[in-house]
């Protein structure tokens, strides 16, 4: 056993020897309450994001069918008159 290991073992013994604290009975319940709240908030945020995504997709489809951006717009200028 090296010096380092012996020292580590001694410190470990000191740490373990400290009297363990008593866990208050409401600690777990409080953690559960707070964690549950975070979960609910996360779930709501996810729903809102999906909803917004859906709205954006619908809006885009509606706009695209009305504006038909893939159709070539009618020419606004007359071609030059040549060969007269």
């Amino acid at each position: 056993m090296s010096l380092q290991e012996r020292q580590d073992a001694a410190v470990r013994a000191v740490l373990d020897a400290a009297p363990p604290p008593v866990v208050p009975p409401e600690l777990g319940a409080e953690a559960l309450r707070r964690g549950g709240r975070a979960l609910r908030r996360r779930r709501i945020a996810r729903r809102v994001l999906w909803f917004l995504l859906g709205v954006a997709v619908v809006a885009f489809v509606v706009w695209a069918t009305m504006a038909r951006p893939w159709v070539e717009p009618p020419s606004k200028t007359t071609p030059p008159l040549t060969g007269w």
Partner: protein
């Protein structure tokens, strides 16, 4: 859908309560060592542990086989490291005369048995730094300085 959600919530709560019943004692012990508070009066350690456990509960469904104890321990150390690196000095417990950084390294390495590389990755420090902190912390525990705890550099007012 709603029913499935409810049963999943109930199962998660049940599993979590069983986990807390088994692990909270050890985790709170680690937390009091981190905050350097006496075991019979450790409000900061309790707050730290509550926050870490709440986070563990929130990510319970995504653990997928990972040990919840690991998750809670990681959360505890990271939360402590991030929140109170240089501020509060301890006022009790066996690690009272160590700095916050030395306490985290010592608790992770020796009390929790986390490997050096893993501890370094967890704390975002280079391995050499963790090794140096570990050596200094061990020396300080085995040969505590005499007299009152050395005051912190600069803002040296020890927290009451």
């Amino acid at each position: 859908m709603r029913e499935r959600q409810a049963s999943r919530n109930a199962r998660r709560a049940r599993e979590f309560e069983a986990f807390v019943a088994g692990a909270a004692g050890r985790l709170l012990h680690a937390a009091t060592l981190l905050t350097a508070e006496p075991p019979d009066d450790c409000p900061r350690a309790q707050r730290l542990l509550t926050a870490a456990l709440a986070r563990t509960y929130a990510s319970w469904d995504r653990l997928r086989g990972e040990d919840p104890y690991d998750c809670a321990r990681k959360e505890l150390a990271v939360r402590f490291a991030r929140g109170t690196w240089h501020h509060h000095r301890g006022h009790g417990g066996v690690l009272a005369h160590l700095t916050a950084q030395e306490r985290v390294v010592l608790v992770l390495r020796l009390f929790e048995g986390v490997g050096e590389e893993q501890a370094a990755a967890l704390l975002g420090l280079p391995v050499e730094r963790v090794s140096a902190l570990h050596a200094r912390a061990v020396a300080l525990v085995l040969h505590p300085p005499r007299g009152p705890a050395p005051s912190a550099p600069l803002h040296g007012a020890a927290s009451a």
